[in-house]
Every structure is written in structure tokens, then in C-alpha cells.
Symmetry: C2
Subunit: 364 residues, 2 copies
Amino acid sequence: MKTITINMMALLLFTATTFSQEKLTNMSDNFMLVIHGGAGTILKKNMTDEKEKLYRDKLNEALQAGHKILKEGGTAVDAVEATINLMENSPLFNAGKGSVFTNAGTNEMDASIMDGKTLNAGAVAGVKTIKNPISAARIVMEKSPHVMLSGDGADQYAKEMGVETASPDYFKDSIRYRQWLKLKETEKQQLDHDATEPKGNDGIPEEGNNIDPSEIEFNINIDEKYGTVGCVALDRHGNLAAGTSTGGMTNKRWGRIGDSPVIAAGTYANNKTCAVSCTGHGEYFIRNVVAYDISAHMEYKSIGVDEAAKQVIHKKLNELGGTGGVIVLDAQGNFTMQFNTAGMYRGYMKANGESEVMLYKGND
Amino acid sequence: MKTITINMMALLLFTATTFSQEKLTNMSDNFMLVIHGGAGTILKKNMTDEKEKLYRDKLNEALQAGHKILKEGGTAVDAVEATINLMENSPLFNAGKGSVFTNAGTNEMDASIMDGKTLNAGAVAGVKTIKNPISAARIVMEKSPHVMLSGDGADQYAKEMGVETASPDYFKDSIRYRQWLKLKETEKQQLDHDATEPKGNDGIPEEGNNIDPSEIEFNINIDEKYGTVGCVALDRHGNLAAGTSTGGMTNKRWGRIGDSPVIAAGTYANNKTCAVSCTGHGEYFIRNVVAYDISAHMEYKSIGVDEAAKQVIHKKLNELGGTGGVIVLDAQGNFTMQFNTAGMYRGYMKANGESEVMLYKGND
């Protein structure tokens, strides 16, 4: 009886393995992952080797996490969620843990995700208790009849659906909190002269030594806007997905919603064209409909990802005075990473494992 | 002294009149206004003459209000705001007074506006105490560095900026309240079988006599989604604007945001292409990026408003299963009103005063 059981199990295991291998064999060998961790005034001169290494290591770790899922036949949506989760869990980025503070001293996070196969989409705006806002966005996409939920209602829905929560304290990164306190002190004066055209950077580490990930000093301007994380993926089934997650703008108030949770502005995916995730001065990305406009350029003007992204970022966004960047990927695995800021945390990993992580202009 | 004062005043008045006339003479004679009051299962057989007259009269009144502003040289943004204000103040539509109830028994309203000249835009989502949400959206557009504000913060900002408030009771129209109570009673059963693909109509008056505007009986389905109001305008300066205002979905919860306050989904305006206001099943309008997609069709495929709107509504929206309608106007005054529902409250008024108001398919 015992022998039979073992043989049965071996047979089942063999069958499962064969099936799994066959399944993978039937899939395309072409898959691809591209990520960003925010665009802004990211300059080599403001970096130390240690800080740079922290960012490069985390971006590589995120790429590897998503790549593994895609390699094993997981969906683009799975890869996007897992990759973003990893960046959300790091205090290096302005998303999930490490999110910037609102004017009220809270952390209010936004995220959205879109499935290029079905054009289904989900988004949350202003959640306060969800550990990984991108996972809440995915639940909205897959389990609710809605696309966009906001405020306490979004927290409540995600919690009811079993998305992991975290106490407000979890998000209260000491560095970000000190940033915010500094900002609050000078609020009036600085808002007075810079209320309509706020400029910002990306929470860039200053020079310093003995760096610990939890104790990086960030050098931020009054209206820090950047630091969003995003991911676009092409899976072995030939499907695209895109996702974006952010803590929004430092010291934001009035329930301000930026482009990250807005489908077509911050995130868009369509197998026919491309998957896009944006980062930058959200208001300009909404007004320019940046993510969808890249897709529209490809669909209606029959141009590729690179030319489409350049048209939208370096021409249309520039004309309006907006700053930021995008990652774009098509269903053949062609991709581009465009930005009109000094730098953008970004990277890609191809099916064969070839990967690159970059921070500055050029290929560095 | 008195004589001199009177003469001075007469001179000033004369100068002002001359200047005003000269200013108007220098302006284009071409201006145009198009409105909608929601799309849905609006059928002649469900109407009485009295109810139909109420809708036609209110739509005509709204058209005249906007037309007057445009004729006198006001901006498209002015006309859009005033026209929508008039519909928001009427309980006939699901916007401002007459907004449907949320699951919590509150009224939470959304609106957005966009200026086709500057591509500036403003939106509020989930406001509870603003008498005219479109006016709050305009303040966000013109006075804040943001595009989209939400929840209590949006109420607070609008209030601080002097936008007229109203107590929650003001919005609590007895008809809408009774609708909601009816819906609440049957909630569980009906949400169970209709959670992912809710269908709805437009709060259509049932047959009946002795109709008073404040006592119309509405016949609604479980997931009423429609009833939004919108306006697009071309002014004598050659500028376009678009605006949309809504109470959202009956019995909505979790801070659900539809397409109305989402730039590119529910509202878009660009002098280069067109001004668009949408109404319908919001989630599909977000996923299809309906408003901006019509503009993109025009810009990148060099087709007119009519063909562009038909492509997006009758082809792309239909393919995804979405229902609703749009009004679209270009900078030459060409316009179209397209919908894939049984009917749409709609109308237009040309510069020469020629106007038409329609409710059903065809020209009726």
C-alpha cells in the first residue's frame, strides 16, 4: 500500500512536471520586464557610491522578482504586482513604506494597474492602511465592478477582500517624517511664492557616509512630486500589463489626486499597442493624458514605442511645461524609458536574463 | 456738479457700450453650445407629455443661459459653468440637487471642467457640501496648482475659495431618497446576481399625471448609473471648453469614482481637436478613455467630430460592452451627439439661435 502510494505520487509528480514543462514549451520564449522608481533631479554629483548601490541593488532585486514569475509562465499582471510590491516594501521609494507625508501628517497612497489583454483596470486613491496599494488596485480590477475607489472606502473594500493591511505607523518612515516636518515649518512662506508652479525632485539621497537603508538622508525641495514606482511586463502568453504606485506629493492636501491612480494618465496597457507607467508632475500627466497618448500615437500613427514615447514626453509634455518620465513596452518586447528630467531610476530585464539598471541620463 | 456727474456717467456708459460693441464686432460670429442630461433607456413609451415637457423646458432653459453668455462675448468656460449650474440646480438630473444617494445615504458628487485653449483642467470627486460641483471644479482649475481634488479635502478647498456651499439636506431630494430606500431594501439579493455587470437606466419618469417637478416618480433599476449632465461650448474667441457633473451611481460605496471627474475619460477639451463631455457606465468610459480617444482620432487620423465619435462609441465602446453617450464639438462649430443607449437627453443652440432638444433615438 505504501509502495503504491509512493509510486502514485511519483507518477503524479512526473505528470505534473511534464505538463508544466510542456505548458512552458508551448509558451513564447519572449518575455520582458521594465521598471522605474521615479524621475527627477537625480544627479551623479549628489550621489555617493553607497547610496547609488542601495538603489541599484533594490532595482535589480525587483527586476529579478518579476523576471522569475514571467520565466515560470506567470502572467504579466502577476509580475507587475510582485515587482511593485518589492519596491513598495522598500523605504527607498515614495510608495507603500517610505511614502511621503500629507499636510495632515498622514500617508495617503495611490496606485493603479491595467491588464492589456482585457483592458480591465483597477485603482485606489488616498488609501491609508493598505500595505501594498498596487495589490488593492488589483483586487479592485479583478473582484469589483469598479475601476477606481477612493479614500476610506477604498481602504475598507481592500480590507474586506483580504488585502494585507498595515497600521499607519508602518508607513511612517522616520526620514520621510523629518522631511515633512521641515516642510511644514516653512510651509507658508514657500507656498506663497510657489503655489501655482511647484517644482520638485525625487527625494534624492544627499552625500554622506555609513549609509543604512533605513537612515538615508533625503534632500528634497519644497514641492517634492516624484518618487513613484512603476512596472510594465510582457508575459509568455503574449499579454501586457502596467502598474504604478505612489505616496503622491509631499505635504499634499485637499485630497489631491495625481496621475498615478488615473487610468490613461499614469498607467495604461493594451496588447494591441503597449503598456505604460508614468512618473512625474502628476497634474501635467493628467492634462496631457500621457500614458494613453503614447498608445494612441502607436495605434493611430503606426509608430513604435520609442518614437511614440519621445513624441509625448519630449514634445507634447515639454510644450506644456511638465516634467517626468515613462517606461513603455510593446507586445513584441520592444521597450523604451524616456524622461525629460535629470534622471530616472529605471531598469529592464530581458527573457535571457540580460538586464541593466540606470539612474542618470545616458546609459548610467 | 450733479449735471457734470450725470454727463460723465453718460460718457462713460457711451464709451463702455461703444467699446463693448467694437469688442464684439472683432469677435467671431461663430459660437455654439451643446448639452446632455444623461443617456440610458429613455423611451417614448415610458414618458408622458407632461414629463417630457419638463425635460425639454429645462434643457431649453440651459441652452439659452449658455447661449446668452456666448453671444455677449463670454468665454466657453463661463458658458459651460453657467449651463451646467442650471442643470445642477434642477432635481430632474443626477447632478447637484437631485443627485442620487450613496450606500451610506449621503450625496457625493463629481465634476470636471477643461479649457481647450490652455489644456488646463480641474475636477472634484466625492464632494458633499458644494451646491454646484462644476463651479468647484472650475476653482480647482483656475486657482489651485492641482487638477483633481477628492473627498472632504475637495469640499474644504472649494469652501475656502468661496464656492457656494449647501447643507447635505439641500441635495436630499425626496424622490431620489425614496429610490435609494427601495434599493437598500433589496440590496443583498440584487447585488448578489449583478455585482460585476450592473446595468441601469437614467432615472426615467414613469407614467403619471399631475406632474410637479419636485414630485416626479422615477423608475430606476438596481444599479442606476446614468443621469450625468454635461456641456461643450465654442466661444466667439475661438476657444473650446467642456464640463461634466454627476451624482454618480445610486447606492455607490467604497468611494467609487466614475468617469465624470476623470479628465480624458469623462471630459476633455483641446482647441486643436474638440471638446467632449460623456455620460454612461463610467467604468467602461475610463477603460476606453472615451473623451480623449475621440480627440486622438481627430488629431492622429484627421477625421471629423462625427466620424471620430462614432468610431469610439459605436465601435470601441460597443466592443467592450459599455453603454452611454457623448457630445462633441470642434473649433469650427461642427458637433455630434452620439449614444448607444435607447436615448440621451440632449440639445444644441447655434449662434443664430437655431436650437433643438432631443430625448430619443433619431431627431425626437
